[in-house]
Amino acid sequence: MTAWCSSERQREQGNETVTKVAEETNRHTISVLVDNEAGVLARVIGLFSGRGYNIESLTVAEVNPHENLSRITIVTSGTRLIIEQIKNQLRRLVPVHRVRDLTLEGPHVSRELALVKVAGTGEKRVEALRIADVFRARTVDTTNESFVFEVVGSTDKVCAFIKLMESLGLVEVSRTGVVAIARGTNPL
C-alpha cells in the first residue's frame, strides 16, 4: 500500500471543505532543473515508480551546457497533498537544483510535438491533408500512399489531431511529450 493511500483515507474523514479540495485530482506540469549527470533521470523515474506516482509525460534535455544543467518537464496528476509530496521528494534528490510547479505558479505555455503517420488513398488522403492544414501540421514525408505529419501544440490539440486521423488511416504516432515554460521575464 503506498503512502498516499493512507493520507487519502485520513482526509476522507477530515474537515469537509479541506476534504473536497484535497480529494480533487488535478494534472500538474512540473519543471525540474538538474545536474546533467549519469543516473539523474533514473533517479527521477525511480522516485515516481517506487512511490507509486503517475507520470503522464516526461521530457528531458540539456539546457545549459556551461553549467551542465538539464531541464526535466514532468506532467503528473494527483491530489494537492500528493503533488506537494512529489515536489518535496524531487527536491530531496541531491542533483536536483530547482523544482517549480508551473500549474500553480501562474501562466505558462506548454507544447508537444507529434509525428503522425497516415496511410490511404483517394478521398481519405485528401481529407487527411485538409485537416492537417486546419491544424497547421506540416507534411514532413510523403509517398503515394502515406504522409507523415508534424503537429505542434498543446496536448489537447495534438490529441484532437490524432483522434481525427484515426478514421483516415492512422498507422503510428511518435510524440515528444510536454515541454513547458512560464510566461513573462523570470527564469525557472
Partner: protein
C-alpha cells in the same frame, strides 16, 4: 600533470578519509578493492575491522555512527561484496543513519560486459541510498569522497555509496583538499521565525498539550536533546518518544509518558489521542505510531518540525509545519518562550495531568511474574537494574525482545540505544553492537537478542573475538520467532505456521566454539548471577536466557486499530472490531 604531485586513486581515497577524520572502517576484501587493501596495509592511522559478512559491516558502521554522531564508513569489494550491503544500506536509509559505503567495481572498460563480479551497484542501490556515485576519473575522486561525507551527514542523514572501478583506484590523479571542495547540497537548517513564533504561541495556549518526539532529535545531536529537555521542563507538558527517539529525553523524568505506538504505553497513546496541541519534533508519523490514520489524534492542532520537507504532510496533515534542524528551532522556541514570558495554563494543565495520571495508574507494563520460569520482561528489568550504573549501550535484534527492551529498559541519554526501527532487520543487533564497542572500547555494550534473530549474523562472534570486543549477547530464548508467534496467536487463529524452530544450537557451546564465553539461566533465581558474571567477564559473552515461550508483548494496538483501542493484556482481547488489513500496521 606532474607525476610527482599525483597520487594513486587508492592513496587519494585514504588521504580523503583521513581528512574526513575517519578512524575506523568496517570491511571485507576482494579482487576489485585489492589496491585499496594494499594501501591500507602500508599505514597505521586508519583501523580496519574485518567482519565476516558485508551486511554486518554496514550494521557495524550504523552502530558506530548512531553511538558517536559521526559518519560510519564501510569498504567492500564489487559484485557479491556490494550486493551483500543492500539490507544494511536500506536499514540506514529508513533510520536516517549517516554512512559512506565504498564499493569496488570492475575496471571502467569492463563495465556493462557482465564481467566477473560485476554488479550495477549504483543501479541497485539507487532506491536504498540517500545518494550514490560512480567515479570514473581519479581527479574527481577526492571531491566525490568529500561530497559523499557531506551528503551523508547534512540535512536528514543517510547512507551514501561510492562505487570505485579498479582502474580508477590504480590510476594517478590529483588530490583536492577538503577546504577546496564546496558542496552544492545545502539543506535548510534554520526554521522560519514567524512560524516558530506562531508555534510557541499556540503551544503556550494549549489546554491538553503533548510533545511527540523522535529520532530526528537524536540525529540533530546531544545539544538538541538538552534543548528539548529544557523546553519540556519549562512548559511542564507531557512528552512521549518513538522507538527511535528513546534517550532523547530522560526516561526517569515524570514528564515522560514512555514510548507511544503499537507497543507503546497506555498513557502515551491515550494522551496522543486526546491532546489538543501536538508538538511533533523529529518524528515521522510512522504507521506503527499512528495506528489507524483516520482515527489518529482527531481533535488536535498538529505542529510538525522536521528537517526533511517530504516528511511533512506525508502520512498526517500538519496544521503548522516548520522545516529545519531540531536544535536550531528548539533554541529559538526557548528564546521566544522566555522573551514573551509565556506561561502554561496551570489550571488546564493540572486537569490534563490528572487524566494522564489516571491512565498511568493502569500500570500497563505490568506482567504476572513467576518464580518457576523466567519472564522476558523480568529478565530485561534485572538487566537494567544490574547495569544502569555503568551507563550501558543497548542494541537489539527485532522481535518481542526488542519491544520489551524498549518498554522496560530506561534510557537517560541519547546515542545509547541502537535498534532497527524502520526496516526491522533481524540480524542488526550483534554487528551494530560490534560497531558501538569499536567506538567505545571501555563501555559496556549489550545486544539484547532473540534466539532466531541472533542466528542471522551469528558469524560476527568471530570478529568480536579477533578484535577483543567484549560485547555481551543477552538472548531471550523463547524457542520461537516470538513476534510472529504472537501475531499468529492473536490474528491467525493460533496456527503457528513456521514460527517454531525445532533445532537451535546450544548457545553455550556455540560461544565456546567461537572462543567466547557461554552462560545460561533457566530459572529466575539464576538470572542475577548470570548477568553479574556476564558483565564481569572481559570477553565476548553469549548469555542464553531461557524465557517463557508463551509470553506476549502488551500493550498492543492491533493492526487497523486506533490509539484508544489498545489491548492491554491477555485477558483484554477486545477483538470485536478486527481492523482491516488495509489500514496500516499490517507487517510483523
Amino acid at each position: 600533470m606532474a607525476q610527482q604531485d599525483s597520487l594513486t586513486g587508492a592513496e587519494i581515497l585514504l588521504k580523503a578519509l583521513a581528512d574526513q577524520g575517519v578512524e575506523v572502517i568496517f570491511g571485507y576484501p576482494g579482487g576489485a578493492v585489492l589496491p585499496i587493501y594494499d594501501e591500507l596495509f602500508k599505514q597505521n592511522r586508519l583501523r580496519h575491522i574485518l567482519v565476516r559478512h558485508e551486511q554486518a559491516a554496514v550494521h557495524a558502521a550504523e552502530g558506530y555512527a548512531r553511538s558517536t554522531g559521526k559518519v560510519g564508513c564501510v569498504l567492500v569489494t564489487s559484485g557479491p561484496g556490494a550486493t551483500n550491503t543492500v539490507t544494511g544500506l536500506t536499514d540506514a536509509l529508513m533510520d536516517s543513519i549517516p554512512l559512506v559505503c565504498i564499493t569496488g567495481q570492475v575496471p571502467t572498460h569492463l563495465i556493462g560486459n557482465d564481467a566477473f563480479q560485476e554488479a550495477d551497484i549504483t543501479g541497485i542501490t539507487r532506491p536504498c541510498t540517500k545518494h550514490n556515485y560512480l567515479v570514473k576519473d581519479p581527479n574527481q575522486l577526492s571531491r566525490v569522497i568529500h561530497e559523499a561525507f557531506h551528503v551523508a551527514r547534512s540535512g536528514r542523514p543517510g547512507p551514501v555509496v561510492v562505487d570505485l572501478p579498479k582502474d580508477v583506484v590504480q590510476a594517478r590523479g590529483e588530490y583536492q583538499p577538503l577546504a577546496k571542495v564546496t558542496p552544492k547540497y545545502r539543506p535548510q537548517v534554520k526554521g522560519d521565525t514567524a512560524s516558530i513564533e506562531k508555534a510557541v504561541e499556540i503551544i503556550a495556549q494549549a489546554k491538553r498539550p503533548m510533545f511527540y518526539c523522535g529520532g530526528g532529535i537524536v540525529n540533530s545531536g546531544p545539544a538538541a536533546c538538552q534543548l528539548l529537555t529544557q523546553l519540556v521542563r519549562t512548559t511542564g507538558y507531557p512528552i512521549t518518544l518513538t522507538l527511535m527517539g528513546l534517550g532523547a529525553f530522560p526516561a526517569s523524568d515524570p514528564l515522560f509518558l514512555g514510548m507511544l505506538g503499537m507497543h507503546g504505553t497506555y498513557e502515551a497513546n491515550l494522551a496522543m489521542h486526546d491532546c489538543d496541541v501536538m508538538v511533533n519534533i523529529g518524528a515521522r508519523f510512522d504507521d506503527r505510531v499512528t495506528g489507524r490514520v483516520n482515527a489518529f489524534s482527531p481533535d488536535s492542532y498538529k505542529i510538525h518540525i522536521d528537517i526533511d520537507p517530504s516528511s511533512i504532510n506525508k502520512n498526517v496533515v500538519a496544521d503548522l509545519s516548520i522545516v529545519g534542524d531540531a536544535a536550531h528551532i528548539l533554541e529559538e522556541m526557548i528564546a521566544i518562550w522566555r522573551a514573551k514570558q509565556y506561561r502554561a495554563d496551570e489550571r488546564a494543565l493540572r486537569a490534563w495531568w490528572q487524566r494522564i495520571d489516571t491512565w498511568r495508574s493502569r500500570n500497563c507494563l505490568h506482567y504476572e511474574n513467576s518464580t518457576r520460569i523466567i519472564k522476558p520482561q523480568f529478565a530485561i528489568q534485572r538487566l537494567y537494574e544490574l547495569t544502569k550504573d555503568r551507563n550501558p549501550y543497548i542494541c537489539t535484534e527485532v522481535g518481542q525482545h526488542q519491544m520489551w527492551s524498549a518498554q522496560h529498559f530506561r534510557f537517560e541519554r541519547p546515542n545509547h540505544w541502537m535498534t532497527s526501527g524502520g526496516l526491522g532487520t533481524m540480524g542488526y543487533g550483534l554487528p551494530a553492537a560490534m560497531g558501538v564497542q569499536v567506538a567505545h572500547p571501555e563501555a559496556l555494550v549489550i545486544d539484547i537478542a532473540g534466539e532466531s534473530s541472533i542466528q542471522m549474523n551469528i558469524q560476527e562472534m568471530a570478529t568480536l573475538c579477533q578484535f577483543h570486543l567484549p560485547v555481551k549477547v543477552f538472548i531471550l530464548n523463547n524457542q520461537y520467532m516470538g513476534m510472529v508467534r504472537q501475531w499468529q496467536e492473536l490474528i491467525h487463529g493460533g496456527r503457528y505456521s513456521q514460527s517454531h524452530m525445532d533445532a537451535h544450537p546450544d548457545f553455550v557451546k556455540l560461544a565456546d566454539a567461537f572462543g567466547a564465553v557461554g552462560l545460561r539461566a533457566e530459572k529466575p533465581g539464576e538470572l542475577d548471577d548470570v548477568i553479574t558474571e556476564m558483565i564481569a567477564v572481559d570477553r565476548p559473552v553469549i548469555a542464553d536466557i531461557r524465557t517463557d515461550a508463551s509470553e506476549n508483548c502488551f500493550p498492543m494496538i492491533m493492526p487497523g486499530m486506533a490509539h484508544n483501542e489498545m489491548v492491554l493484556g491477555p485477558e483484554d482481547r477486545c477483538m470485536e472490531k478486527p481492523g482491516s488489513e488495509d489500514d496500516g500496521m499490517v507487517l510483523v
